[in-house]
């Protein structure tokens, strides 16, 4: 059974490219348009990996991660940030919030798949 990834980004083109890349590698993808939408969808079905942007309206990525980590079902689910942010300060905040990795945009599909496979197989 294919593993499911929740991809959260307020950019439609990013969601499209992430879904395209992950589906090509055999993963199922659930997309969300912001942190709140991501949290709602994460509660509907526990996924195998969360890939989230940081700068989003309504709820940003760090807040989403903190909320997910408070859910029992998401304590051990890997969460990766996929964001334009690259500062050490932001990475430290991400790690403190509960992120397991940091990918800086733009992403290369091949490298994205390599990281995802390393994290969830």
């Amino acid at each position: 059974m294919a593993k499911t990834i929740l991809a959260v980004d307020d950019s439609g083109s990013l969601r499209q490219m992430v879904a395209f890349s992950l589906k090509a590698a055999g993963y199922d993808v659930v997309s969300a348009v912001d942190g709140q939408d991501g949290l709602n969808k994460a509660k509907e079905k526990t996924v195998d990996l969360v890939l989230t942007d940081q700068n989003m309206p309504i709820m940003d990525g760090l807040t989403l991660i903190k909320n997910l980590r408070e859910l029992g079902s998401y304590r051990a689910v890997p969460i990766l940030m996929l964001t334009t942010e690259s500062s050490d300060e932001m990475k430290a905040k991400g790690k403190a919030a509960g992120a397991n990795g940091w990918l800086v945009k733009p992403f290369d599909p091949k490298r994205l798949i390599e990281v995802v496979q390393k994290v969830i197989g």
Binding site: S13, Q54, E85, S86, N100, G101, F107, D108, P109, R111
Partner: protein, 149 residues
């Protein structure tokens, strides 16, 4: 607003075209694979087809990376708009304080008004810089770094 609108429209069209081309190429590759299994082709021709397939894969990855430009440029445009709005507010504040000045004012009164103006501008500048944190540092479209904690 117009720039953002045009950019969004362009990326939508580009994305749709990319997906359509990829679908067509994938179908074509499946047909070629079927032919490779059946047809009596010289090894050199089969090798050439495999190399073309690999090249297509590389170019598809490059296209996916490149199509992410709209996300970053949108953020930069928002930052520019915020800066312009902030500068406009600062100019409005300058005009407001300036209108309170009168050539008949004593020096102390003028100095007081100038200090108020300076403080007001400083407060606005701090607020503006706080909201203008640079979230996009990329200078090119090479794929970004990856770090697993």
């Amino acid at each position: 607003m117009q720039t953002t609108f045009l950019l969004s429209g362009a990326i939508e069209k580009l994305g749709a075209s990319f997906m359509a081309i990829h679908e067509a190429v994938t179908t074509q590759q499946l047909e070629i694979n079927a032919l490779l299994n059946v047809a009596d082709m010289p090894p050199s021709a089969k090798q050439s087809i495999r190399e073309s397939r690999e090249k297509i894969g590389v170019e598809v990855n490059a296209a996916v990376t490149g199509l992410q430009f709209q996300d970053m440029t949108s953020q930069l445009i928002v930052r520019a708009i915020n800066r312009v709005n902030g500068l406009r507010e600062s100019l409005d504040a300058l005009a407001l304080h300036g209108s309170g000045m009168n050539q008949e004012h004593e020096h102390e009164e003028i100095a007081r008004l100038l200090n108020e103006m300076s403080a007001s501008l400083s407060t606005r500048d701090d607020a503006l810089m706080g909201g203008l944190r640079k979230s996009v540092a990329q200078q090119d479209m090479d794929s970004g770094e990856i770090e697993l904690f």
